[in-house]
């Protein structure tokens, strides 16, 4: 299976909120690094992170738009689209649903070892996300 196919399997998990095949896709000690949080080790905290997004955006869909792949690494540029109809967990506490739609551009870096994802780094702009939800002004540095 190519790296891209592996990633697309993972994106199907996100889009169906069904992580029952996570053991086939991720190493047991996979390290996930999302913005605004320290690294998460293991499949369980990673699934909890995905489910948190699903609670906040039950109609959320992840789209992999462009892939760059070499060696054991694939980088994906994509978008997460959804409507915030559920509570959103933030470091400052839980925020009630805003009802707003969101299109969040992101980059994912995956490192694959022994046919499974061993590392997953997630890059997106939390300011851009909160601004679309009307929770922060979109105006920061420079």
């Amino acid at each position: 299976m190519s790296l891209q196919q592996l990633v697309d399997r993972h994106y199907r998990e996100v889009n169906t909120n069904d992580y029952s095949d996570a053991d086939d896709i991720f190493s047991a000690d996979v390290v996930t690094k999302p913005p605004g949080s320290g690294p998460l080790t293991g499949i369980e905290p990673f699934v909890a992170y995905g489910e948190g997004f699903h609670r906040a955006f039950p109609d959320g869909r992840i789209h992999g738009d462009r892939y760059v792949e070499s060696g054991d690494i694939v980088v994906v540029e994509g978008r997460f689209t959804g409507t915030n109809t559920g509570p959103l967990d933030t470091p400052a506490g839980q925020i009630p649903a805003t009802g707003r739609p969101m299109v969040l551009p992101f980059a994912d870096l995956f490192r694959v070892a022994d046919g499974k994802i061993a590392e997953h780094r997630i890059y997106f702009d939390t300011v851009g996300m909160l601004a679309q939800l009307g929770l922060m002004q979109e105006s920061t540095a420079v």
Partner: protein
């Protein structure tokens, strides 16, 4: 086309070296650069953007940790580190130096043409940077935010 690692070294040597006049040696004059901070459409605009950042954080440096290349497409993963020793210009006014050091992880994904960057999109978290500077506005309900405007 050149090795993406060599391209990364050249690009960040020019940016971190504050070689404003050399931007077009590493990117096309009509380069498209998209980031959470700004969308830029030329090497000249990019140089101006970097110059304004360098006023706030003159020691700013990129460290590239991983490079991925597939034909003309590239991805650079790394971190940018700088110390806020000068005034930071924001749409809400100037922020005086905080003296704090910021480390900002980034992932830049783009395309090269004839050995120079033609298009790049930079992914990073502005909130992470603001938090490190002690400037984080906490998320708050939309009605309160609207009332404050």
């Amino acid at each position: 086309m050149i090795e993406a690692r060599a391209l990364a070294e050249r690009v960040f040597a020019v940016i971190d070296g504050q070689c404003w006049a050399d931007y077009e040696t590493v990117m096309h004059p009509d380069v498209e650069m998209t980031s959470p901070f700004a969308t830029l459409h030329s090497a000249a605009d990019w140089a101006e953007f970097s110059r304004s950042f360098a006023v706030a954080m003159p020691d700013g440096k990129h460290t590239v940790t991983r490079v991925v290349q597939s034909g003309e497409r590239f991805a650079f993963e790394g971190r940018w580190t700088g110390t806020h020793t000068g005034p930071l210009t924001t749409p809400n006014g100037q922020v005086p130096p905080t003296g704090r050091t910021v480390t900002m992880p980034f992932c830049a994904v783009g395309t090269q043409r004839e050995g120079r960057v033609s298009r790049v999109r930079v992914y990073l978290d502005q909130l992470d940077m603001l938090a490190q500077l002690g400037l984080v506005p906490q998320p708050e309900p939309a009605d309160r935010l609207a009332a404050a405007r």
